[in-house]
Symmetry: C2
Subunit: 466 residues, 2 copies
C-alpha cells in the first residue's frame, strides 16, 4: 500500500498540498486512568524491554526442562532479573520437580513388507515416556483416530504399535480449541493402547502446519497399566505413514528411544513484587512459567509469559507507579510436566493473612493480544469489563469468558478470579513444543503490547480492587 | 502451555476421567446467515486456497513492478486463475502505466573526514527517482527531521545531501498511523530539498524494525523543481549515520544510482465476477493490487489482497452460493507508483447503467484480520455493523470508521461506501517494500481468515444490499 492521501491519482500539486506537516486537531483530554494507561503504553513501546529480556533468556539459557541444569540457570536468571528491575521481596520458593531426560537416541522407521516402501520418521519422545530396549520396539502398525477406537481394538492390538492420527480440527478458528480437541491422543494414548496389549504408540504432532518437525509434550501413564514408549511424529510423516499402511496392511515400525525418568530434583518458583501502599495483603499474582520443553528455546512457550510478567511490573516500577495493592510476579516452575510449582504456590499462599484477589497469566504465546479470558463471577467479570476501554488503544479489549491456564488454575479452584492474556492464536501451534519455538518467531512490539495490556489491567485492579 | 484440564496438578486417575471423548453439548441452531457464514468458514479453513495461489504467484513470478515483464506475467496469471476458478466475464481492461526501472547500480557510502570513520550504506533507490551521473553524487550530509526543517535550511543546504531521519513513531500502536506520520519525508523529501539547493536525499526506511534492510516506495517530484536522486537507507544505517554526523560535522556521502524512467507501457486491470441473479447491475467491487515493488516478491503487499479477493469469490463459487447482486474481483494494476489502474477502473465503471454499491479492498497485509475499516454514511455503517456478528467467530468483527486504500479511493470520491480489511499491523512494515516481503512471512490460516471475512461480508451485501 501507499498512503492513499499521498497521491497516486491526484495531481502532484494537490498531492504536495496534502502532506501533513503536523497534527492540526488537538488530542482530547484524557481521564486520569486513561493518562496512566497512556504512560504505560508510551514507555513500553519506546523501551521494548520484554524482548530484550527474552533475547537474554533464550540466548544464554535456551530450553529449560524441569530438573535440568538449564532450568536451574533460569531460576537464577529470574532472581537476578527481578533484583535488577528493583522488585521487592525477591526470593525463591523451593519445590521438588520431576526430572525426565530425553537421551541421545530417538529413531524410528516404518516400512511395508509387501509394498516395499519405507520411511525414516521425524520423531521425538513424548515427555515422560519410558525408553525402549537398546534394540528398539518393533511391531505392525495400526492407525486409529481416537482413544475409543484404540480401546475397542481389543486383542487385535496385541503386540502392535498404535498410530494415533486424528488431526487438530482446521475448521476451529481458535487453535487452542483445535488443540484441546486432539491432545487426548498424546496425553493418554499410551495407556489406552497398553491396556489392549500394544507395545508402543506414535502420535501425530499437535500442529496445524504440515511439515517435518515433531512436537513433544506431556503424556501420562495410568496406574497399574504397563508403561509403553510414546513418540510424536511430524504431520508430514503422519500423512505419509497413513498412506503407507493403507497401501500395505502389514506395514511395520521400529522405534528406539533412550529417554528416562531420574529422581526428583529441587527447583523453585521465583517470586518478586511491588508491595501495595494501602492494602499490602491484597495480592494480584501475575506470571508465566519458567520451564520449557527441551526441543526449542521456549520463546513463545513460555519465555513470552515470563518476560511479559517481568516487563509489566518493571514498567510500573520504571514509571514510579506505586500500586495500592500488592502486585506479585511469580515465575512458575514445572508447568510443562507436572505443575508442581503451581501446586506449591497455591498451597503456600492460599493460607495465612494475605488474600489473593486475582491471578493473571500469560501462557498462550507472545503474539499480538486480542484481550483477556476471564474466569470470575458475573460481578467481577463486569468490573473488569469496565476497564476494557483502557485496553482499546492496544486493540486488546476483547474479553471472553473462561481464562487462565495451568499455573493459576489451583488459585481458581479456590475461587480466585483468573485472567489469561489471549494473543492471536494462528501461529502458536506451528512452533509449540518443537525446535521451531525460537526467538525469531517473536515480534518485539507484539510481545510488548501483551506486557502493556497486563500492566494496564493489573494496575487498575491494584488501585480499585475487584 | 498444556491443556489445563489435562492434569499437571491432578492425580492421574482424576486426569484420565477428565479426558473428553466427545462433545456432550449440542451446538445451538444457527440462523440462515450464520449457516452461510459457517459454510464459508469451514470450507476456507479446510482448503486454504488463498495460500496455494499466493505460493504460485510469488514463486513463479515474484516481484512485479508496473511495466515490467513480471507485471505482464502477473496479468496473464490473474486472468488464467479467474478462468480456472470459474468466474464469469473474465477480461482485461487495458491501462497505460509508468515504467521505472531500478538498474544495476545502487551504491552509497558515508565517511567523516575528521573522525576517520566510514560506513558502506545499505540503500536502494526510491521508486521514481532519477539516477546519478556515473561518478555518483557527493556532498556534505545534513541531518533533518521534517520537511519544514529541510525547507528552513535555505542556502545552508546548497550542494549538500539531506538526510531525513525522523523515525516512525513507536508509541502509535497502529503501525499504519506511524507510517502515515513519517512517509512525507520519503514522498516529498527530494523536491523540498532541491528547492533549497540540495543535490540528493537519503531517507530513513519506513520501518519500526532496526535492521540492515532498505525499504523502497514511491516518491514524486514537484513540477518546476530540479529532480535530484533519492534513496532509502536501512534503519540501522540511519542510526549509525546520525552518530557519524554528530561526531564529525564535515561528514560526507557519495551515492551512485542507475535507475531511470522509460516510456509508459500498456498493462491492464484483471476483472472477473459472479453475476448477480436478481440485480446484476448492482456491483460489489472486491480487490487488491497485482503490481508490487521489485525488491521482494510482494507477498504481503499485495499478493495477499490479490489472492484473498480471488479466494473470497472462489469460495462462493465452490460452495454454489449465487449472489443476488454481482460480486466483481478487480486485480488493480499500478497501485504502487501511479494508481493508473484505480483511476481507469473508476473512469470506466462509474458511468453507464451499472451501480457500484460498495468497494472492498485488502491492501494492508495478509495477517490475521481484526475486522474492517468502513468509510460510509452513518446509515450504511450501521447496516454493515449489523453483520459484524457473522465475523465474530473469525475474531474479525472490529469495525472502525475510515477504510479503503488507494485502489478504491476513486470510487469513494464519488460516494461509494469503502470497506478495507484491517489485519493485525505490527509486522507489516518490518517487511513492506523490501526484500523481506516474501512468502515465508505469511501464515496460510491468517491469510485465509481474511479471505473468509471478505467473502462473508461481500455475500451479505450481495444478498441484502446496502
Amino acid at each position: 500500500m501507499i498512503l492513499r492521501t499521498l497521491c497516486s491519482v491526484l495531481t502532484m500539486a494537490v498531492c504536495f498540498s496534502l502532506i501533513p506537516v503536523k497534527r492540526l486537531t488537538p488530542a482530547p483530554a484524557l481521564r486520569p486512568d486513561e493518562q496512566v494507561a497512556k504512560q504505560i503504553r508510551d514507555r513500553g513501546l519506546t523501551d521494548l524491554d520484554a524482548y530484550a529480556m527474552l533475547t537474554e533468556l533464550t540466548g544464554t539459557i535456551g530450553g529449560r526442562l524441569s530438573g535440568s541444569p538449564q532450568a536451574a540457570a533460569a531460576v537464577e536468571w529470574g532472581r537476578q532479573t527481578m533484583l535488577k528491575l528493583g522488585f521487592q521481596n525477591v526470593h525463591l520458593e523451593p519445590v521438588m520437580v520431576p526430572h525426565w531426560v530425553r537421551g541421545a537416541v530417538e529413531q524410528g522407521m516404518v516400512w511395508g513388507p509387501n509394498s516395499g516402501t519405507a520411511l525414516t520418521l521425524n520423531l521425538c519422545a513424548l515427555g515422560g515416556s519410558v525408553g525402549t530396549p537398546e534394540a528398539g520396539v518393533e511391531g505392525e502398525v495400526i492407525e486409529v483416530h481416537s482413544l475409543k477406537e484404540a480401546g475397542e481394538l481389543g486383542d487385535r492390538a496385541r503386540g502392535k504399535i498404535l498410530f494415533y492420527n486424528r488431526p487438530m480440527d482446521p475448521t476451529l478458528v481458535n487453535t487452542f480449541a483445535a488443540y484441546g480437541g486432539a491432545v487426548d491422543q498424546r496425553f493418554a494414548g499410551a495407556s489406552v493402547a497398553a491396556r489392549v496389549g500394544a507395545v508402543a504408540v506414535m502420535v501425530r504432532s499437535m500442529s496445524l502446519a504440515i511439515d517435518n518437525v515433531p512436537h513433544t509434550g506431556a503424556m501420562g501413564y495410568e496406574a497399574g497399566v504397563p508403561q509403553i514408549p510414546a513418540v510424536a511424529i511430524s504431520t508430514q510423516d503422519a500423512n505419509q505413514l497413513s498412506e503407507l499402511v493403507k497401501a500395505d496392511k502389514t506395514g511395520r515400525a521400529r522405534i528406539k528411544l533412550s529417554c528416562q525418568t531420574l529422581p526428583d530434583v529441587e527447583s523453585a518458583n521465583v517470586v518478586g513484587e511491588l508491595v501495595g501502599s494501602e492494602k499490602p495483603n491484597e495480592v494480584i499474582v501475575m506470571g508465566g512459567h519458567l520451564d520449557s520443553w527441551d526441543k526449542g528455546v521456549g520463546a513463545h512457550d513460555d519465555g513470552a509469559g515470563v518476560t511479559q510478567s517481568l516487563e509489566a511490573l518493571g514498567l510500573l516500577k520504571r514509571l514510579g507507579m506505586t500500586p495500592k495493592r500488592t502486585i506479585r510476579v511469580v515465575l512458575f516452575m514445572n508447568e510443562e510436566n507436572g505443575g508442581r510449582g503451581a501446586a506449591a504456590y497455591a498451597a503456600k499462599h492460599l493460607v495465612g493473612k494475605e488474600t489473593t484477589i486475582a491471578g493473571m497469566e500469560s501462557d498462550s504465546g507472545g503474539f499480538a493480544p486480542h484481550g483477556f479470558g476471564v474466569t470470575a463471577t458475573p460481578r467481577v467479570y463486569r468490573r473488569i469489563q469496565g476497564w476494557s476501554s483502557l485496553l482499546q488503544p492496544l486493540e486488546a479489549d476483547r474479553l471472553t469468558p473462561g481464562g487462565g491456564e495451568a499455573d493459576i488454575e489451583p488459585l481458581g479452584a479456590k475461587g480466585v478470579p483468573l485472567i489469561g492474556l489471549q494473543p492471536e492464536s494462528q501461529r502458536y501451534f506451528d512452533y509449540h513444543h518443537s525446535i521451531k519455538d525460537t526467538l525469531d518467531k517473536v515480534n518485539p512490539r507484539e510481545l510488548e503490547i501483551g506486557a502493556i495490556a497486563m500492566a494496564t489491567l493489573a494496575f487498575q485492579i491494584a488501585q480499585h480492587g475487584l
